[in-house]
């Protein structure tokens, strides 16, 4: 029995090793340059997204869906349609949240973690996150995609996340998904679909009334 378990462990380890390879410094630099160049060309972006939140205590995933909009420099709109309808607009230091009852407006400083994560997301879309000194950054080749793993160095981020994994398309170098893994191994996975870049996104998308 022990021998079987050993074989199974070896097979899984070998499979994982094959599935996820750390890039050499030279390859990592090349991938970083390509991702940064691609991201810097993004003036606007529109996509649909699926967000999966896994919480071990619930032993199930909560899946949310909606649309994502970004406009340079720092305008972001998350429009959730399932399971609850609400919209979050981030505009500079302001956050607006609209549910079916009202629009609420807050200063981002009223939720510092929110600000920190939002900054990370904007840096991600703009490609600056790869130059961040707040993380230890490692590049991986993961079957058909590049995965950039960010391990927080910053004390506050470290208290929230064990790592953040960014997945990029191997041919276009666009961000495909990202996974934020909390210290207790709970995670949030956001996948982008139907991406459209550098299209006209009306300014009204970033003002809630």
């Amino acid at each position: 029995m022990k021998t079987y378990l050993l074989y199974i462990t070896l097979i899984i380890t070998a499979y994982n090793a094959q599935a996820q390879t750390v890039l050499s410094a030279k390859d990592a630099d090349a991938v970083k340059a390509k991702i940064t160049a691609t991201s810097k060309n993004i003036q606007s972006m529109q996509a649909t997204f699926t967000q999966e939140k896994f919480m071990s205590v619930l032993s199930k995933k909560i899946t949310s869906k909606g649309s994502f909009y970004f406009k340079k420099e720092n305008l972001v709109r998350w429009e959730y349609t399932e399971p609850f309808k609400y919209i979050i607009v981030l505009s500079g230091a302001k956050v607006q949240i609209k549910d079916d009852k009202k629009v609420s407006e807050y200063d981002m400083s009223s939720n510092k973690s929110f600000k920190q994560i939002n900054d990370m997301m904007i840096q991600l879309v703009q490609g600056n996150v790869l130059n961040s000194t707040q993380y230890k950054i490692t590049y991986f080749d993961v079957q058909g995609q590049y995965m950039v793993q960010l391990v927080p160095i910053d004390k506050k981020l470290k208290s929230m996340f064990s790592s953040i994994q960014l997945y990029f398309d191997k041919t276009t170098y666009d961000v495909v998904s990202f996974k934020m893994i909390e210290v207790n191994a709970d995670y949030t996975l956001v996948k982008f679909n139907n991406k459209k870049q550098n299209i006209t996104v009306d300014a009204s998308k970033f003002v809630l009334k």
């Binding site: 919480m55 619930l58 998350w78 979050i88 997301m121």
Partner: protein
């Protein structure tokens, strides 16, 4: 004539009383079901929004709030009369705010641990007894169709109000709950209650 009037008044009172008793369902009771809300917390100068999930596991309830940016804001356990903190994010570590939100949410879950809650007679409910033990009183009112409120009063001053807006009559229905404090700037909004197995 007098007899008829008395019967009519009695019938109206009975029906309005039954309506109040029937329409507020017994929440958070099913083992292993997950109850989720879109949640907004406003406390002093802090604001948090995301999804709050409540799960009953045997005799324990877990209350977990996750922000839309993917971080767990807090994780509470409610067992018997004990409410404990399993995890809290640093942004929530203002002790006054944390204790107040913890108490409100644990009270909310505990209120429906027993079927004595709204289903029978609110004045005999565990929630009402708990409120009375803190030298406060409470009353249950029908605000309008499908909106119910519980007002908690101390020394004839309103302390907090719980509003229940029911969107249909089944246990798995969508429901909004709002807890508003009147003496301190704290509001908890739980919207679009959904129960899943």
């Amino acid at each position: 004539m007098l007899h008829r009037s008395i019967v009519l008044i009695f019938t109206i009172l009975l029906f309005s009383s039954l309506k109040a008793q029937q329409k507020i369902p017994y929440l958070f009771s099913k083992n292993d079901s997950v109850y989720t809300f879109h949640a907004l917390l406003d406390a002093y100068n802090y604001h948090f929004s995301g999804i709050m999930a409540i799960k009953k596991i045997d005799q324990e309830h877990r209350i977990v709030f996750t922000t839309e940016t993917g971080t767990t804001l807090f994780d509470f356990s409610v067992k018997g009369n004990k409410c404990s903190i399993n995890y809290v994010q640093s942004d929530m570590k203002n002790p006054l705010m944390l204790q107040l939100i913890k108490k409100d949410l644990c009270d909310l879950v505990q209120s429906y641990r027993s079927k004595k809650g709204f289903e029978k007679n609110y004045l005999e409910s565990a929630e009402h007894k708990q409120i009375q033990s803190n030298n406060m009183s409470a009353s249950q009112n029908i605000v309008q169709n499908d909106i119910y409120s519980v007002e908690v009063v101390k020394s004839s001053k309103k302390v907090k109000t719980l509003f229940y807006t029911i969107r249909s009559n089944t246990i798995t229905s969508e429901m909004d709950i709002r807890i508003t404090h009147h003496t301190i700037p704290v509001t908890i909004d739980l919207m679009g209650f959904v129960a899943t197995e």
